[in-house]
Protein backbone atom coordinates (compact mmCIF):
# COMPACT_ATOMS: atom_id res chain seq x y z
CA UNK A 1 0.00 0.00 0.00
CA UNK A 2 1.41 3.41 -0.92
CA UNK A 3 0.26 6.53 0.86
CA UNK A 4 0.28 9.95 -0.69
CA UNK A 5 -0.36 13.15 1.21
CA UNK A 6 -0.71 16.42 -0.68
CA UNK A 7 -0.64 19.93 0.71
CA UNK A 8 -2.29 18.99 3.98
CA UNK A 9 -3.40 21.86 6.22
CA UNK A 10 -4.93 21.50 9.67
CA UNK A 11 -5.55 24.34 12.08
CA UNK A 12 -6.61 24.20 15.72
CA UNK A 13 -7.95 27.71 16.26
CA UNK A 14 -5.19 29.99 15.03
CA UNK A 15 -2.49 27.36 15.57
CA UNK A 16 -1.44 25.60 12.39
CA UNK A 17 -0.74 22.00 13.34
CA UNK A 18 -0.06 21.14 9.71
CA UNK A 19 0.99 23.87 7.35
CA UNK A 20 1.14 22.37 3.87
CA UNK A 21 2.56 18.87 4.17
CA UNK A 22 3.47 16.70 1.17
CA UNK A 23 4.59 13.14 1.68
CA UNK A 24 4.83 9.91 -0.28
CA UNK A 25 5.21 6.60 1.49
CA UNK A 26 6.24 3.56 -0.54
CA UNK A 27 4.81 0.09 -0.19
CA UNK A 28 6.32 -1.88 2.68
CA UNK A 29 8.24 1.05 4.10
CA UNK A 30 8.87 1.65 7.78
CA UNK A 31 8.78 5.40 8.06
CA UNK A 32 9.44 7.55 11.12
CA UNK A 33 7.85 10.94 11.70
CA UNK A 34 10.32 12.72 13.93
CA UNK A 35 9.92 16.11 15.53
CA UNK A 36 9.54 17.99 18.79
CA UNK A 37 6.14 18.08 20.46
CA UNK A 38 3.78 20.43 18.67
CA UNK A 39 5.46 19.80 15.32
CA UNK A 40 2.29 18.25 13.88
CA UNK A 41 3.54 14.66 13.55
CA UNK A 42 0.74 13.09 15.58
CA UNK A 43 -1.86 15.21 13.78
CA UNK A 44 -0.54 13.95 10.45
CA UNK A 45 -0.72 10.37 11.66
CA UNK A 46 -4.27 10.80 12.96
CA UNK A 47 -5.41 12.31 9.68
CA UNK A 48 -3.96 9.34 7.78
CA UNK A 49 -5.81 7.03 10.19
CA UNK A 50 -9.10 8.90 9.78
CA UNK A 51 -9.26 9.95 13.43
CA UNK A 52 -8.91 13.61 12.45
CA UNK A 53 -9.83 15.55 9.35
CA UNK A 54 -7.72 18.14 7.55
CA UNK A 55 -8.96 21.62 6.70
CA UNK A 56 -7.62 21.14 3.19
CA UNK A 57 -5.39 18.82 1.23
CA UNK A 58 -5.50 15.24 -0.01
CA UNK A 59 -4.73 11.82 1.39
CA UNK A 60 -4.77 8.81 -0.89
CA UNK A 61 -4.01 5.13 -0.44
CA UNK A 62 -2.84 3.43 -3.65
CA UNK A 63 -4.17 6.43 -5.53
CA UNK A 64 -7.63 6.09 -3.97
CA UNK A 65 -9.06 9.04 -2.04
CA UNK A 66 -8.85 8.06 1.64
CA UNK A 67 -10.60 11.16 2.96
CA UNK A 68 -13.84 9.86 1.48
CA UNK A 69 -13.72 7.07 4.06
CA UNK A 70 -14.02 7.09 7.85
CA UNK A 71 -11.57 5.41 10.18
CA UNK A 72 -13.76 2.34 10.16
CA UNK A 73 -13.54 1.79 6.41
CA UNK A 74 -9.87 2.57 5.96
CA UNK A 75 -8.52 -0.69 7.33
CA UNK A 76 -5.71 1.01 9.12
CA UNK A 77 -4.14 -0.47 12.24
CA UNK A 78 -3.54 2.22 14.84
CA UNK A 79 -1.41 1.77 17.94
CA UNK A 80 -1.82 4.41 20.64
CA UNK A 81 0.85 5.75 22.93
CA UNK A 82 -1.14 4.75 26.00
CA UNK A 83 -2.23 1.44 24.44
CA UNK A 84 -6.01 2.15 24.65
CA UNK A 85 -6.69 -1.50 25.46
CA UNK A 86 -10.22 -2.44 26.50
CA UNK A 87 -9.73 -3.03 30.20
CA UNK A 88 -12.87 -5.07 30.75
CA UNK A 89 -11.73 -7.65 28.19
CA UNK A 90 -9.06 -10.29 28.45
CA UNK A 91 -6.00 -10.08 26.26
CA UNK A 92 -7.57 -12.68 24.03
CA UNK A 93 -10.81 -10.71 23.61
CA UNK A 94 -8.89 -7.50 23.01
CA UNK A 95 -7.07 -9.07 20.09
CA UNK A 96 -10.25 -10.73 18.85
CA UNK A 97 -12.24 -7.47 18.95
CA UNK A 98 -11.54 -6.38 15.38
CA UNK A 99 -12.62 -9.82 14.11
CA UNK A 100 -15.77 -9.95 16.22
CA UNK A 101 -17.13 -6.59 15.09
CA UNK A 102 -16.87 -7.38 11.40
CA UNK A 103 -20.14 -7.23 9.46
CA UNK A 104 -21.96 -10.55 9.71
CA UNK A 105 -21.46 -11.29 6.04
CA UNK A 106 -17.68 -11.43 6.27
CA UNK A 107 -17.29 -12.41 9.94
CA UNK A 108 -15.26 -15.55 10.49
CA UNK A 109 -16.58 -18.42 12.57
CA UNK A 110 -15.47 -18.82 16.17
CA UNK A 111 -12.84 -21.48 15.45
CA UNK A 112 -11.18 -19.33 12.78
CA UNK A 113 -11.19 -16.31 15.08
CA UNK A 114 -9.60 -18.33 17.89
CA UNK A 115 -6.93 -19.67 15.56
CA UNK A 116 -6.16 -16.21 14.23
CA UNK A 117 -5.88 -14.68 17.71
CA UNK A 118 -3.63 -17.50 18.80
CA UNK A 119 -1.44 -16.88 15.77
CA UNK A 120 -1.19 -13.15 16.57
CA UNK A 121 -0.40 -13.77 20.22
CA UNK A 122 2.35 -16.11 19.08
CA UNK A 123 3.62 -13.42 16.74
CA UNK A 124 3.98 -10.95 19.61
CA UNK A 125 5.28 -13.78 21.82
CA UNK A 126 2.62 -13.35 24.49
CA UNK A 127 0.36 -16.37 23.94
CA UNK A 128 0.74 -17.29 27.61
CA UNK A 129 -1.08 -14.07 28.63
CA UNK A 130 -4.30 -14.78 26.71
CA UNK A 131 -6.54 -14.98 29.80
CA UNK A 132 -5.10 -12.03 31.68
CA UNK A 133 -6.62 -8.56 31.82
CA UNK A 134 -4.67 -5.57 30.53
CA UNK A 135 -4.24 -4.25 34.08
CA UNK A 136 -2.22 -7.33 34.91
CA UNK A 137 0.38 -6.69 32.20
CA UNK A 138 3.52 -4.58 32.11
CA UNK A 139 3.69 -1.56 29.81
CA UNK A 140 5.78 -3.35 27.22
CA UNK A 141 3.39 -6.31 27.17
CA UNK A 142 0.38 -4.01 26.83
CA UNK A 143 1.94 -2.29 23.85
CA UNK A 144 2.65 -5.61 22.17
CA UNK A 145 -0.97 -6.66 22.75
CA UNK A 146 -2.14 -3.36 21.29
CA UNK A 147 -0.04 -4.12 18.25
CA UNK A 148 -1.46 -7.63 17.94
CA UNK A 149 -4.97 -6.17 18.20
CA UNK A 150 -4.22 -3.70 15.41
CA UNK A 151 -2.80 -6.47 13.23
CA UNK A 152 -5.84 -8.69 13.71
CA UNK A 153 -7.82 -6.85 11.06
CA UNK A 154 -5.01 -7.41 8.54
CA UNK A 155 -4.54 -3.67 8.14
CA UNK A 156 -3.38 -2.21 4.87
CA UNK A 157 -1.27 0.27 6.82
CA UNK A 158 0.06 0.21 10.35
CA UNK A 159 0.29 3.52 12.22
CA UNK A 160 1.99 3.83 15.59
CA UNK A 161 1.72 6.99 17.71
CA UNK A 162 4.76 7.25 19.98
CA UNK A 163 4.49 3.53 20.55
CA UNK A 164 7.27 3.37 23.10
CA UNK A 165 6.81 6.81 24.61
CA UNK A 166 5.36 5.58 27.90
CA UNK A 167 7.91 2.83 28.50
CA UNK A 168 11.17 2.87 30.39
CA UNK A 169 14.47 3.09 28.56
CA UNK A 170 15.43 -0.57 28.68
CA UNK A 171 12.07 -1.89 27.46
CA UNK A 172 12.10 0.73 24.72
CA UNK A 173 15.40 -0.51 23.38
CA UNK A 174 14.15 -4.10 23.31
CA UNK A 175 10.89 -3.19 21.62
CA UNK A 176 12.63 -1.11 18.97
CA UNK A 177 14.61 -4.10 17.79
CA UNK A 178 11.54 -6.23 18.04
CA UNK A 179 9.43 -3.80 16.00
CA UNK A 180 12.02 -3.72 13.25
CA UNK A 181 12.17 -7.49 12.99
CA UNK A 182 8.38 -7.71 13.18
CA UNK A 183 8.07 -5.27 10.32
CA UNK A 184 10.53 -7.35 8.37
CA UNK A 185 8.33 -10.37 8.99
CA UNK A 186 4.91 -8.90 8.14
CA UNK A 187 6.07 -6.20 5.74
CA UNK A 188 3.05 -3.89 6.11
CA UNK A 189 3.56 -0.24 5.16
CA UNK A 190 4.12 1.37 8.55
CA UNK A 191 4.50 4.87 9.93
CA UNK A 192 5.50 5.62 13.47
CA UNK A 193 5.65 8.90 15.30
CA UNK A 194 8.42 9.65 17.73
CA UNK A 195 10.22 12.56 19.32
CA UNK A 196 13.18 10.32 20.09
CA UNK A 197 15.80 10.71 17.35
CA UNK A 198 17.66 7.60 18.38
CA UNK A 199 14.47 5.60 17.98
CA UNK A 200 13.78 7.07 14.55
CA UNK A 201 17.32 6.57 13.28
CA UNK A 202 17.55 3.03 14.61
CA UNK A 203 14.19 1.64 13.51
CA UNK A 204 13.08 3.41 10.34
CA UNK A 205 14.06 2.97 6.68
CA UNK A 206 13.28 6.62 6.11
CA UNK A 207 12.91 9.51 8.47
CA UNK A 208 10.66 12.54 8.05
CA UNK A 209 11.78 15.41 10.23
CA UNK A 210 8.99 17.86 11.07
CA UNK A 211 8.86 21.21 12.80
CA UNK A 212 6.01 23.67 13.25
CA UNK A 213 3.64 21.82 10.95
CA UNK A 214 6.10 21.56 8.09
CA UNK A 215 8.41 18.87 6.80
CA UNK A 216 12.03 19.95 7.16
CA UNK A 217 13.69 16.95 5.58
CA UNK A 218 12.88 13.49 4.28
CA UNK A 219 15.70 11.01 3.95
CA UNK A 220 17.41 7.88 5.14
CA UNK A 221 18.66 7.89 8.73
CA UNK A 222 22.17 8.51 7.35
CA UNK A 223 21.00 11.41 5.21
CA UNK A 224 19.32 13.29 8.01
CA UNK A 225 22.24 12.77 10.33
CA UNK A 226 25.13 13.34 7.94
CA UNK A 227 23.67 15.97 5.62
CA UNK A 228 20.95 17.86 7.47
CA UNK A 229 18.98 19.99 5.05
CA UNK A 230 18.16 22.82 7.42
CA UNK A 231 19.44 24.47 10.55
CA UNK A 232 16.53 22.96 12.46
CA UNK A 233 17.40 19.42 11.44
CA UNK A 234 21.05 19.92 12.32
CA UNK A 235 20.12 21.26 15.71
CA UNK A 236 17.49 18.63 16.40
CA UNK A 237 19.30 15.49 15.33
CA UNK A 238 22.56 14.59 16.99
CA UNK A 239 24.30 16.81 19.47
CA UNK A 240 25.46 19.95 17.78
CA UNK A 241 27.42 23.05 18.62
CA UNK A 242 25.55 26.04 17.27
CA UNK A 243 27.29 29.39 16.82
CA UNK A 244 25.88 32.63 15.38
CA UNK A 245 28.28 33.87 12.69
CA UNK A 246 28.47 36.64 10.15
CA UNK A 247 29.47 35.95 6.52
CA UNK A 248 31.06 39.00 4.87
CA UNK A 249 33.29 39.27 1.82
CA UNK A 250 34.39 35.66 1.89
CA UNK A 251 35.15 35.72 5.59
CA UNK A 252 33.23 34.07 8.39
CA UNK A 253 33.25 36.00 11.61
CA UNK A 254 32.29 34.90 15.07
CA UNK A 255 31.68 38.20 16.83
CA UNK A 256 34.68 40.36 15.77
CA UNK A 257 36.83 37.34 15.34
CA UNK A 258 37.45 36.08 11.79
CA UNK A 259 37.48 32.30 11.58
CA UNK A 260 39.91 30.39 9.43
CA UNK A 261 37.18 28.57 7.61
CA UNK A 262 36.37 28.54 3.90
CA UNK A 263 33.36 30.70 3.04
CA UNK A 264 33.04 29.68 -0.59
CA UNK A 265 29.57 29.89 -1.99
CA UNK A 266 27.97 31.22 1.18
CA UNK A 267 25.43 34.00 1.01
CA UNK A 268 26.56 37.06 2.96
CA UNK A 269 24.71 37.97 6.13
CA UNK A 270 23.90 36.56 9.53
CA UNK A 271 24.21 32.77 9.57
CA UNK A 272 24.50 29.81 11.85
CA UNK A 273 27.50 27.53 12.09
CA UNK A 274 26.86 23.92 13.14
CA UNK A 275 29.48 21.42 14.21
CA UNK A 276 28.88 18.01 15.77
CA UNK A 277 30.42 17.83 19.21
CA UNK A 278 32.66 14.96 18.27
CA UNK A 279 33.76 16.72 15.06
CA UNK A 280 35.70 19.37 17.01
CA UNK A 281 39.32 18.22 16.98
CA UNK A 282 41.49 19.37 19.85
CA UNK A 283 44.98 20.72 19.11
CA UNK A 284 47.59 22.98 20.66
CA UNK A 285 46.67 26.69 21.07
CA UNK A 286 46.64 28.55 17.79
CA UNK A 287 46.28 25.41 15.70
CA UNK A 288 42.61 25.49 14.69
CA UNK A 289 39.83 27.80 13.64
CA UNK A 290 38.84 28.43 17.26
CA UNK A 291 40.68 28.91 20.47
CA UNK A 292 39.34 28.55 23.97
CA UNK A 293 39.90 27.74 27.60
CA UNK A 294 38.67 24.47 29.09
CA UNK A 295 36.22 25.17 31.91
CA UNK A 296 35.56 21.71 33.19
CA UNK A 297 35.66 18.15 32.02
CA UNK A 298 33.48 15.10 32.65
CA UNK A 299 34.18 11.61 31.42
CA UNK A 300 31.49 9.57 29.67
CA UNK A 301 32.96 6.16 28.95
CA UNK A 302 34.99 6.50 25.76
CA UNK A 303 34.69 10.30 25.51
CA UNK A 304 35.48 13.28 27.65
CA UNK A 305 32.95 16.07 27.51
CA UNK A 306 34.59 19.45 27.96
CA UNK A 307 33.02 22.82 28.37
CA UNK A 308 35.15 25.31 26.50
CA UNK A 309 34.91 29.11 26.68
CA UNK A 310 35.82 30.39 23.22
CA UNK A 311 37.91 33.53 22.88
CA UNK A 312 34.85 35.16 21.27
CA UNK A 313 32.97 34.75 24.57
CA UNK A 314 30.65 31.81 23.72
CA UNK A 315 30.73 28.60 25.70
CA UNK A 316 30.48 25.30 23.85
CA UNK A 317 30.55 21.63 24.79
CA UNK A 318 32.76 19.24 22.87
CA UNK A 319 33.21 15.47 22.96
CA UNK A 320 36.90 14.58 22.65
CA UNK A 321 38.28 11.04 22.58
CA UNK A 322 40.11 9.84 25.68
CA UNK A 323 43.88 9.58 25.51
CA UNK A 324 44.93 13.19 25.43
CA UNK A 325 43.35 14.16 28.73
CA UNK A 326 41.97 17.68 29.02
CA UNK A 327 42.12 19.60 32.25
CA UNK A 328 40.25 22.64 33.43
CA UNK A 329 42.31 25.75 32.72
CA UNK A 330 44.00 24.36 29.57
CA UNK A 331 44.05 26.62 26.56
CA UNK A 332 43.36 24.64 23.40
CA UNK A 333 42.89 25.10 19.68
CA UNK A 334 39.80 23.62 18.05
CA UNK A 335 39.43 22.63 14.42
CA UNK A 336 36.06 21.47 13.08
CA UNK A 337 36.56 18.31 11.05
CA UNK A 338 33.22 18.93 9.38
CA UNK A 339 30.84 21.82 9.70
CA UNK A 340 27.83 23.33 8.01
CA UNK A 341 26.65 26.87 7.71
CA UNK A 342 23.00 27.81 7.22
CA UNK A 343 21.95 31.33 6.29
CA UNK A 344 19.56 33.12 8.65
CA UNK A 345 19.42 33.49 12.39
Amino acid sequence: MTIEVKNLVKKFGSFAALDGVDLKVDNGELLALLGPSGSGKTTLLRIIAGLDWPDSGEVSFNGEDALAQGARERHVGFVFQHYALFRHMTVFENVAFGLRVQPRAVRKDEATIRARVKELLDLVQLDWLADRYPSQLSGGQRQRIALARALAIEPRILLLDEPFGALDAKVRKELRKWLRSLHHEINVTSIFVTHDQEEALEVANRVVVMDKGRIEQIGSPDDVYETPATAFVHGFIGESIELPVQVEGGVIRLGDHPLRLAADGLAPGASKLFVRRHDMLVGPPGSGAFEGAVQHVRNFGPVQRAEVALSGGQTIEIDAPRGRELRAGDTIGLEPRRYRIFAGT
Partner: protein
Protein backbone atom coordinates in the same frame (compact mmCIF):
# COMPACT_ATOMS: atom_id res chain seq x y z
CA UNK B 1 -10.73 0.81 64.74
CA UNK B 2 -12.68 0.25 67.95
CA UNK B 3 -13.92 3.81 67.80
CA UNK B 4 -15.17 3.46 64.23
CA UNK B 5 -17.03 0.27 65.03
CA UNK B 6 -18.57 1.73 68.17
CA UNK B 7 -19.67 4.78 66.26
CA UNK B 8 -21.14 2.70 63.44
CA UNK B 9 -22.98 0.57 65.99
CA UNK B 10 -24.44 3.54 67.82
CA UNK B 11 -25.47 5.28 64.65
CA UNK B 12 -26.71 2.38 62.55
CA UNK B 13 -26.86 -1.00 64.19
CA UNK B 14 -28.51 -0.17 67.50
CA UNK B 15 -31.50 1.65 65.96
CA UNK B 16 -31.94 -1.22 63.53
CA UNK B 17 -31.79 -3.77 66.32
CA UNK B 18 -34.34 -1.70 68.25
CA UNK B 19 -36.62 -1.85 65.26
CA UNK B 20 -36.49 -5.63 65.20
CA UNK B 21 -37.00 -5.87 68.96
CA UNK B 22 -40.04 -3.64 68.81
CA UNK B 23 -41.60 -5.76 66.10
CA UNK B 24 -41.09 -8.82 68.34
CA UNK B 25 -43.85 -7.48 70.57
CA UNK B 26 -46.19 -8.85 67.94
CA UNK B 27 -47.04 -12.51 67.73
CA UNK B 28 -46.11 -14.11 64.37
CA UNK B 29 -49.80 -14.24 63.54
CA UNK B 30 -50.36 -10.56 64.23
CA UNK B 31 -47.23 -9.74 62.30
CA UNK B 32 -48.49 -11.69 59.33
CA UNK B 33 -51.92 -10.10 59.49
CA UNK B 34 -50.48 -6.64 59.40
CA UNK B 35 -48.32 -7.44 56.46
CA UNK B 36 -50.89 -9.30 54.47
CA UNK B 37 -53.49 -6.59 54.86
CA UNK B 38 -54.41 -5.14 51.54
CA UNK B 39 -53.39 -1.65 52.49
CA UNK B 40 -49.89 -2.66 53.58
CA UNK B 41 -49.29 -4.78 50.52
CA UNK B 42 -50.43 -2.00 48.22
CA UNK B 43 -48.26 0.55 49.98
CA UNK B 44 -45.21 -1.69 49.65
CA UNK B 45 -46.01 -2.38 46.02
CA UNK B 46 -46.33 1.33 45.27
CA UNK B 47 -43.09 2.15 47.06
CA UNK B 48 -40.88 -0.58 45.66
CA UNK B 49 -42.44 -0.79 42.21
CA UNK B 50 -42.36 2.90 41.48
CA UNK B 51 -38.93 3.30 43.07
CA UNK B 52 -37.52 0.63 40.82
CA UNK B 53 -39.16 2.09 37.72
CA UNK B 54 -37.89 5.54 38.65
CA UNK B 55 -34.38 4.20 39.23
CA UNK B 56 -34.42 2.58 35.79
CA UNK B 57 -35.51 5.83 34.15
CA UNK B 58 -32.78 7.62 36.06
CA UNK B 59 -30.25 5.09 34.89
CA UNK B 60 -31.01 5.82 31.25
CA UNK B 61 -31.53 9.57 31.52
CA UNK B 62 -28.69 9.97 34.00
CA UNK B 63 -26.29 8.22 31.63
CA UNK B 64 -27.28 10.57 28.83
CA UNK B 65 -26.83 13.60 31.07
CA UNK B 66 -23.43 12.37 32.22
CA UNK B 67 -22.36 11.80 28.65
CA UNK B 68 -23.29 15.34 27.69
CA UNK B 69 -21.63 16.84 30.77
CA UNK B 70 -18.39 14.91 30.37
CA UNK B 71 -17.92 14.72 26.63
CA UNK B 72 -19.25 18.01 25.32
CA UNK B 73 -18.13 21.54 25.95
CA UNK B 74 -21.08 23.87 25.72
CA UNK B 75 -21.89 27.25 27.21
CA UNK B 76 -23.45 26.87 30.64
CA UNK B 77 -22.02 23.39 31.16
CA UNK B 78 -20.85 24.25 34.66
CA UNK B 79 -24.25 25.62 35.56
CA UNK B 80 -25.95 22.44 34.36
CA UNK B 81 -23.39 20.45 36.26
CA UNK B 82 -24.31 22.35 39.41
CA UNK B 83 -28.04 21.99 38.75
CA UNK B 84 -27.66 18.22 38.96
CA UNK B 85 -27.02 18.61 42.68
CA UNK B 86 -30.20 20.57 43.34
CA UNK B 87 -32.28 17.52 44.31
CA UNK B 88 -29.51 16.61 46.80
CA UNK B 89 -29.47 20.02 48.36
CA UNK B 90 -33.11 21.01 48.30
CA UNK B 91 -35.10 20.20 51.45
CA UNK B 92 -37.38 17.39 50.31
CA UNK B 93 -40.52 19.19 51.42
CA UNK B 94 -39.58 22.17 49.26
CA UNK B 95 -39.07 19.87 46.33
CA UNK B 96 -42.43 18.27 47.00
CA UNK B 97 -44.26 21.56 47.11
CA UNK B 98 -42.51 22.78 43.97
CA UNK B 99 -43.31 19.61 42.05
CA UNK B 100 -46.91 19.67 43.21
CA UNK B 101 -47.34 23.28 42.11
CA UNK B 102 -45.77 22.49 38.77
CA UNK B 103 -47.82 19.39 38.05
CA UNK B 104 -51.12 20.41 39.65
CA UNK B 105 -53.98 20.74 37.20
CA UNK B 106 -53.38 24.48 36.89
CA UNK B 107 -49.56 24.25 37.06
CA UNK B 108 -47.19 25.11 34.23
CA UNK B 109 -46.70 21.50 33.27
CA UNK B 110 -49.86 20.11 34.80
CA UNK B 111 -52.19 22.22 32.65
CA UNK B 112 -50.87 21.10 29.23
CA UNK B 113 -50.67 17.51 30.48
CA UNK B 114 -54.22 17.70 31.79
CA UNK B 115 -55.29 18.89 28.36
CA UNK B 116 -53.81 15.67 26.99
CA UNK B 117 -55.76 13.75 29.59
CA UNK B 118 -52.72 12.91 31.70
CA UNK B 119 -53.06 13.58 35.39
CA UNK B 120 -49.79 13.67 37.26
CA UNK B 121 -50.30 15.31 40.61
CA UNK B 122 -52.19 13.28 43.25
CA UNK B 123 -51.74 10.01 41.32
CA UNK B 124 -49.06 7.30 41.30
CA UNK B 125 -47.55 9.09 38.28
CA UNK B 126 -46.81 11.98 40.60
CA UNK B 127 -44.94 9.68 42.96
CA UNK B 128 -42.99 8.37 40.01
CA UNK B 129 -42.06 11.92 38.92
CA UNK B 130 -40.94 12.87 42.42
CA UNK B 131 -38.84 9.73 42.71
CA UNK B 132 -37.13 10.46 39.40
CA UNK B 133 -36.44 13.98 40.57
CA UNK B 134 -34.71 12.98 43.78
CA UNK B 135 -32.84 10.02 42.29
CA UNK B 136 -31.15 11.60 39.29
CA UNK B 137 -28.08 13.02 41.05
CA UNK B 138 -27.14 9.59 42.38
CA UNK B 139 -26.72 8.15 38.91
CA UNK B 140 -24.99 11.23 37.53
CA UNK B 141 -22.54 11.59 40.39
CA UNK B 142 -21.52 7.94 40.52
CA UNK B 143 -21.03 7.55 36.78
CA UNK B 144 -19.42 10.92 36.11
CA UNK B 145 -15.94 10.27 37.57
CA UNK B 146 -15.74 6.87 35.87
CA UNK B 147 -16.67 8.30 32.49
CA UNK B 148 -14.17 11.13 32.95
CA UNK B 149 -11.57 8.47 33.56
CA UNK B 150 -12.56 6.57 30.44
CA UNK B 151 -10.06 7.45 27.77
CA UNK B 152 -11.74 8.68 24.54
CA UNK B 153 -8.89 6.87 22.80
CA UNK B 154 -10.55 3.53 23.44
CA UNK B 155 -13.46 4.67 21.27
CA UNK B 156 -11.05 5.68 18.54
CA UNK B 157 -9.34 2.32 18.90
CA UNK B 158 -12.66 0.51 18.55
CA UNK B 159 -13.53 2.62 15.50
CA UNK B 160 -10.23 1.98 13.75
CA UNK B 161 -10.70 -1.74 14.41
CA UNK B 162 -13.90 -1.55 12.40
CA UNK B 163 -16.54 -1.24 15.12
CA UNK B 164 -19.61 0.84 14.36
CA UNK B 165 -20.68 3.52 16.80
CA UNK B 166 -23.33 1.20 18.17
CA UNK B 167 -20.89 -1.69 18.59
CA UNK B 168 -18.50 0.65 20.37
CA UNK B 169 -21.20 1.69 22.83
CA UNK B 170 -22.45 -1.83 23.48
CA UNK B 171 -19.15 -3.67 23.56
CA UNK B 172 -16.75 -1.08 24.92
CA UNK B 173 -18.33 1.87 26.68
CA UNK B 174 -21.22 0.27 28.56
CA UNK B 175 -19.20 -2.67 29.93
CA UNK B 176 -16.57 -0.23 31.17
CA UNK B 177 -19.23 1.81 32.93
CA UNK B 178 -21.29 -1.15 34.19
CA UNK B 179 -20.11 -1.18 37.82
CA UNK B 180 -20.70 2.54 38.18
CA UNK B 181 -24.09 2.32 36.45
CA UNK B 182 -25.21 -0.45 38.81
CA UNK B 183 -24.04 1.50 41.85
CA UNK B 184 -25.94 4.54 40.62
CA UNK B 185 -29.03 2.42 40.05
CA UNK B 186 -28.84 0.95 43.55
CA UNK B 187 -28.38 4.34 45.20
CA UNK B 188 -31.18 5.98 43.22
CA UNK B 189 -33.45 3.07 44.05
CA UNK B 190 -32.63 3.12 47.76
CA UNK B 191 -33.22 6.81 47.91
CA UNK B 192 -36.55 6.56 46.09
CA UNK B 193 -37.81 3.76 48.34
CA UNK B 194 -37.08 5.78 51.43
CA UNK B 195 -38.23 9.11 50.03
CA UNK B 196 -40.95 10.73 52.05
CA UNK B 197 -40.95 14.51 52.00
CA UNK B 198 -41.07 15.23 48.31
CA UNK B 199 -43.48 12.38 47.56
CA UNK B 200 -46.29 12.92 50.04
CA UNK B 201 -47.20 16.35 48.70
CA UNK B 202 -47.64 15.21 45.14
CA UNK B 203 -48.94 11.71 45.85
CA UNK B 204 -52.48 12.46 46.94
CA UNK B 205 -52.00 9.63 49.42
CA UNK B 206 -55.07 7.59 48.58
CA UNK B 207 -54.85 4.31 50.48
CA UNK B 208 -54.21 1.37 48.14
CA UNK B 209 -53.57 3.66 45.18
CA UNK B 210 -51.02 6.33 45.88
CA UNK B 211 -50.00 5.70 49.45
CA UNK B 212 -46.33 4.93 49.93
CA UNK B 213 -45.05 2.62 52.65
CA UNK B 214 -43.15 5.29 54.60
CA UNK B 215 -46.37 7.31 54.81
CA UNK B 216 -48.26 4.30 56.06
CA UNK B 217 -45.66 3.94 58.80
CA UNK B 218 -46.20 7.55 59.81
CA UNK B 219 -49.97 7.04 59.82
CA UNK B 220 -49.67 3.99 62.05
CA UNK B 221 -47.38 5.91 64.38
CA UNK B 222 -49.87 8.75 64.66
CA UNK B 223 -52.49 6.16 65.57
CA UNK B 224 -50.12 4.95 68.31
CA UNK B 225 -49.93 1.53 66.64
CA UNK B 226 -46.17 1.40 67.10
CA UNK B 227 -45.84 -2.33 66.56
CA UNK B 228 -47.73 -2.11 63.27
CA UNK B 229 -45.43 0.64 62.14
CA UNK B 230 -42.31 -1.29 63.00
CA UNK B 231 -43.60 -4.41 61.28
CA UNK B 232 -43.91 -2.50 58.01
CA UNK B 233 -40.56 -0.89 58.65
CA UNK B 234 -38.91 -4.27 59.17
CA UNK B 235 -40.27 -5.55 55.90
CA UNK B 236 -39.05 -2.47 54.07
CA UNK B 237 -35.69 -2.89 55.67
CA UNK B 238 -35.38 -6.54 54.72
CA UNK B 239 -36.56 -6.04 51.16
CA UNK B 240 -34.29 -3.04 50.67
CA UNK B 241 -31.43 -4.99 52.11
CA UNK B 242 -32.02 -7.93 49.80
CA UNK B 243 -32.21 -5.67 46.76
CA UNK B 244 -29.11 -3.69 47.68
CA UNK B 245 -27.30 -6.94 48.34
CA UNK B 246 -28.31 -8.33 44.96
CA UNK B 247 -27.19 -5.20 43.15
CA UNK B 248 -23.98 -5.32 45.12
CA UNK B 249 -23.30 -8.87 43.97
CA UNK B 250 -24.06 -7.88 40.41
CA UNK B 251 -21.73 -4.95 40.74
CA UNK B 252 -18.99 -7.18 42.18
CA UNK B 253 -19.40 -9.47 39.25
CA UNK B 254 -19.12 -6.59 36.79
CA UNK B 255 -16.17 -5.20 38.73
CA UNK B 256 -14.34 -8.52 38.68
CA UNK B 257 -14.19 -8.20 34.93
CA UNK B 258 -12.35 -4.93 35.28
CA UNK B 259 -9.66 -5.56 37.86
CA UNK B 260 -8.37 -2.46 39.57
CA UNK B 261 -5.54 -0.83 37.69
Amino acid sequence: MGLTLTWLSVIILIPLAGLFLKSLELSPEQFWNILSSRRTLNALRVSFGLAFAAACVNLVMGSIIVWALVRYRFPGRRIFDAIVDVPFALPTAVAGVALTALFAEKGWLGAPLAALGIKVAFTPVGIFVAMIFIGIPFVVRTVQPVLQDLDPEIEEAAGSLGASRWQTIIRVILPSLAPALLTGLALAFARAVGEYGSVIFIAGNLPNVSEIAPLLIVIRLSEFRYADATAIAVVMLVVSFVIIFAVNRLQRWAQSRIPAR
